[in-house]
Symmetry: C4
Subunit: 157 residues, 4 copies
């Protein structure tokens, strides 16, 4: 696989940047558990000139906070499909399918495969997502999946 | 096993929708860790017309918040047995034993087996629950047990 | 091993009732993660007439909250050794060494072995604790260690 | 390997004292999960006269709270390299390279190897860190890595 044309990474959040866990406190607060390994990789990729978009079907302020702290764009689907969102973002950025990869872990992510160069899936992604993957990542969701992807792109694996 | 008659899912909470972990903060707040994979499955099952009841022996506001966010009913046993609760709910909904499954992980869940079609138990359920199970789910509690059950029902496994 | 004389259980907290994790929030709040499987076992043991003491070298309000919610005694060592504390508690309760077991996971717990009938250690306890154990529990700390102990005592394993 | 000259331990935080997880709540609070096994080891090492510095590239109040509670120094790199920081601290304390070890888990930690006696890496550290390690620790990050290091130094393994 060749990653030298990649200029933009789209990533799902739950199950990729987290292991899908959702903390709920009995006062109504929510929390998610991200991983600093992904954070280090993201900072490197951005310094290298790669744009990173977090696309999530679940509106969540904790996710927005973490995405923006790391210099990523936070995109809530709000009913739109991920493939439509990705196409629009690529158009506006004057980038092509060949410049984009998408990391997702579940059935609803599979259709976005058609609008990017590669569709990558965490080791513990849903069976139907893994069956459609161009590459299955060694790490499980929340344990450094995006870092492994970025190491591949930057040849630091 | 045939799931085509299933119209209602009863599920225990601790050990099924969570791995049994209970976060306690030193200001008295409690928290539980649910999984978004279950959330996606639940939304699909409800869209398909299946009702989902969360039945718990431990009154907990975090659980109530999460159940209702996903469109499920939250039921606190409050001293009643799970089998009596399930029978009453089935009667009121004019549903039969054949329409119901129950997912539970511990000894106290086993007796409810008699009032549903199938009793399903997470991979890491208590030995006595696994011995009584009609089916042992591949996932551990809190890691997508209900999602796997729903994938079976909707043929998306 | 015979548990029929056991009337009192002493248990360490960190590494036994938790996996040793300590959540620290950046506003200074602390949290610990207990497991509801232990909770169910504790309620059964207490209903059976067994007393349970949580003994910890780290003063912690979250631990106190959870111990007392379950009907256990919370004891902070406050510089005293665990073996001295256990001896005093046994004396006051007019119980003998033969009536007591102690569950601990670390080097500092080993000396308390001398004042109880059995010293039990989680699967992932410190090597030096495991070497001194009368019995090594199958579960890891925080994953139902005390439940497994109580199942042994109540013959529900 | 000989640890008898070690008088000071430098340790990375994320991925060593934690497993890299970063809890983000939707009110903006952050949290990290430390382990009490490390805490016990740290208290022993300090009682033995060993100094411990936590060096992190991510400014974080939760980390500062935990470091200082245990009697360790909290050092935020704030753009400086870890090797420069370590050299300065050794100079000020009139200690030599031979008196220092460094525990780190990622690529950015490798260069600090040159200014300490040994560079130690958790079992689940980054491949490039493990390749440069003088010793790979059996434990994963957040599961007692520093405790294992201190047990080696104090011959309590």
């Amino acid at each position: 696989m060749r990653f030298d044309t990649v200029k933009i990474i789209f990533t799902d959040v739950d199950g990729v940047l987290t292991n899908g866990d959702l903390l709920v406190l009995n006062n109504g607060l929510y929390g998610k558990i991200f991983n600093t390994r992904d954070g280090l990789g993201i900072e490197k990729a951005i310094a290298y000139g790669i744009k990173i978009y977090w696309i999530t079907g679940r509106s969540d302020y904790a996710t927005k906070i973490r995405a923006e702290e790391l210099g990523c764009k936070y995109v809530f689907t709000n009913g739109r499909t991920k493939e439509d969102l990705i196409k629009n973002i690529l158009n506006e950025a004057k980038l092509k399918k060949d410049n984009a990869i998408f990391v997702g872990d579940d059935i609803t992510d599979v259709r976005a495969k058609s609008v990017v160069k590669y569709f990558l899936v965490p080791q513990d992604g849903h069976k139907k997502a893994r069956e459609s993957a161009d590459l299955i990542i060694n790490k499980n969701g929340g344990k450094g999946v995006l870092r492994e992807v970025i190491d591949l792109i930057l040849n630091e694996e």
